[in-house]
């Protein structure tokens, strides 16, 4: 990826990955093209964007298919969106129930989850949206699942260590996302060579690690199927690894929690943080407060590990996790 891409470019790229229509895609691509630094290192990306814009323009100009759209649109909540993906009966719904207060239908037979089911998962005081998806097999995958994976910040690929068919089942899920426009990856973002291809960061959840022969099945999996992603051992029923899983989500999404302090108050409000991504600035914090605040932000006082308490900083200051900020408009 070329250097010096602006925060506006990254925002537009994220919105592009989550777009529900050709018109939305077009608007995002146009922002990306506008924001991309114009130099030799970005020539290819500029050309790709222009080609993509031409293609999407043609799609946007086509008459609407009406009710044929069928997009699943779950409102975004929390600091990020995490998708549970896996084969039938691998324990995705159990994980959703164990990690959130959602209560999906859980039954020990395949294909219980028929529609995407969202819930809210907390890591300390930071909430994430966790979505259980209908199961994926070699023969079938709900069309909405692809869109949910594409728009997610992280995919938890759930592997069933209690199943004798875990290799075939996992292989089938992976193959569903090979070669298409939406793929499982080590990072979330667009392909450097083809902006039409989107990768979503993937973490393998080795579920049902509590069963007696889990280690034996894991050894078989490692022998016959090389999974190119990091992994974590969990059990939705006993709770093994669930706290670590919450932490992994928080760390992989590079969340920075910022606590707001009102100028007239001595103490910050620590009941709920504002969540931004590492590298984002006080402008993004202000946007969470109110759009008008972001536009009028002139300075802020910061209490944190990287500065002396109460230091006045400019809007482009990048807060660290746990910083307290007092925003001042113009």
């Amino acid at each position: 990826m070329p250097a010096n891409l602006t925060p506006q470019y990254h925002k537009a790229e994220a919105a592009y990955r989550q777009a529900d229509s050709a018109q939305e895609e077009l608007e995002c691509l146009q922002v990306m093209l506008r924001e991309i630094p114009k130099h030799k290192g970005t020539d290819k990306l500029q050309a790709d964007l222009k080609a993509k814009i031409a293609k999407v323009k043609a799609e946007a100009a086509k008459p609407s298919a009406g009710s044929a759209g069928k997009a699943t649109k779950i409102p975004k909540q929390g600091a990020g969106r995490v998708i549970l993906l896996g084969a039938p009966n691998c324990g995705k719904s159990q994980l959703l129930a164990a990690l959130t207060r959602a209560h999906p239908e859980i039954a020990p037979y395949p294909f219980t989850t028929q529609t995407p089911m969202p819930g809210m998962m907390l890591f300390e005081d930071c909430p994430f949206q966790l979505i259980d998806t209908p199961p994926v097999t070699g023969d079938f995958m709900e069309t909405s699942t692809v869109g949910l994976v594409r728009g997610a910040d992280l995919v938890l690929l759930v592997v069933d260590l209690a199943s004798d068919s875990l290799i075939e089942d996992t292989q089938a899920v992976i193959e569903r996302f090979q070669g298409g426009k939406t793929r499982l990856g080590r990072e979330t973002g667009l392909d450097e060579e083809d902006v039409g291809v989107s990768y979503t960061m993937t973490l393998v959840c080795l579920n049902k690690y509590d069963v007696a022969d889990a280690d034996d099945r894991l050894a078989l999996l490692d022998e016959f199927l090389q999974l190119p992603w990091d992994r974590i051992k969990v059990s939705a029923t006993t709770g093994i690894g669930l706290e670590e899983l919450r932490r992994q989500v928080f760390e992989r999404l590079e969340i920075v929690r910022v606590y707001a302090k009102h100028p007239k108050e001595k103490e910050p409000d620590r009941s709920k943080p504002f969540a931004i991504r590492r590298g984002e600035t006080l402008v993004e914090v202000a946007e969470h407060v109110h759009r008008d605040m972001a536009a009028s932000l002139r300075s802020a006082r910061v209490w944190g590990s990287a500065v002396h308490d109460g230091t006045t900083v400019k809007p482009d200051y990048q807060p660290l996790d746990g910083d307290v900020v007092e925003l001042h408009g113009g």
Partner: protein, 205 residues
């Protein structure tokens, strides 16, 4: 560093369209949902079609209209009854697009006193245009008269991971098994959610 997290409880409130002609609606609704018993509760209000949709139903019996088209027509009319109820209630936000719904939800999970001051009381009226249209979640419910606004409110409860769903009606809850809650309701309802059916009129009359 992190404080004790103040997790919000989301309550979806379906206001029956038959209550729209009730003179004390504004006061009674406010008393019901703004009781300061649980300060973390936020209310997302969905409004039924009432007499407006009943009129379409009567035209449909005469002309035998296309069921799918009539379904979406009625859903669109719910946008109007929701706006009407918002005018009657004269408080809270009107959420009429997916973006406005997401913005409102974002405020629930991030903090700061400034945010609470800017965003006002924790009540919002949600038009179907924010979550259920021909394009958004069009497959989620049957497109026929079998699907009432009760099911549409259950769909919203599912989409926002609500803790509870209240159905405010003009009839008694004991009748709910006899067709007042439509056939699609059970399928749309998220598992484990607490459902209350309240006859708002009988509570006060």
């Amino acid at each position: 560093m992190a404080g004790e997290f103040n997790e919000p409880k989301i309550r979806v409130v379906k206001l029956g369209g038959s209550l729209l002609d009730w003179p004390p609606l504004q006061r009674r609704l406010a008393e019901l949902i703004q009781q300061p018993v649980e300060p973390r509760v936020v209310n997302l209000i969905v409004v039924g079609g009432g007499a407006v949709v009943d009129a379409i139903r009567s035209y449909d019996t005469v002309h035998a209209l296309d069921q799918v088209a009539v379904h979406w027509l009625c859903v669109e009319l719910m946008n109007s009854t929701t706006k009407l109820a918002h005018m009657v209630f004269s408080a809270g936000q009107l959420l009429d697009s997916p973006e406005s719904l997401e913005d409102w939800l974002a405020g629930l999970w991030s903090g700061g006193r400034e945010h609470a001051e800017l965003h006002g009381p924790p009540v919002a009226f949600v038009c179907p245009s924010a979550f259920y249209t021909k394009v958004l979640n069009a497959d989620a419910l049957p497109t026929s008269w079998d699907t009432s606004s009760d099911s549409i409110s259950a769909l919203l409860a599912r989409l926002v991971s609500a803790n509870e769903l209240w159905l405010l009606k003009s009839t008694d809850a004991v009748s709910c098994t006899n067709g007042i809650v439509d056939p699609a309701f059970e399928k749309a309802l998220p598992e484990g959610i607490a459902v209350r059916i309240i006859n708002l009129r009988s509570q006060w009359e």
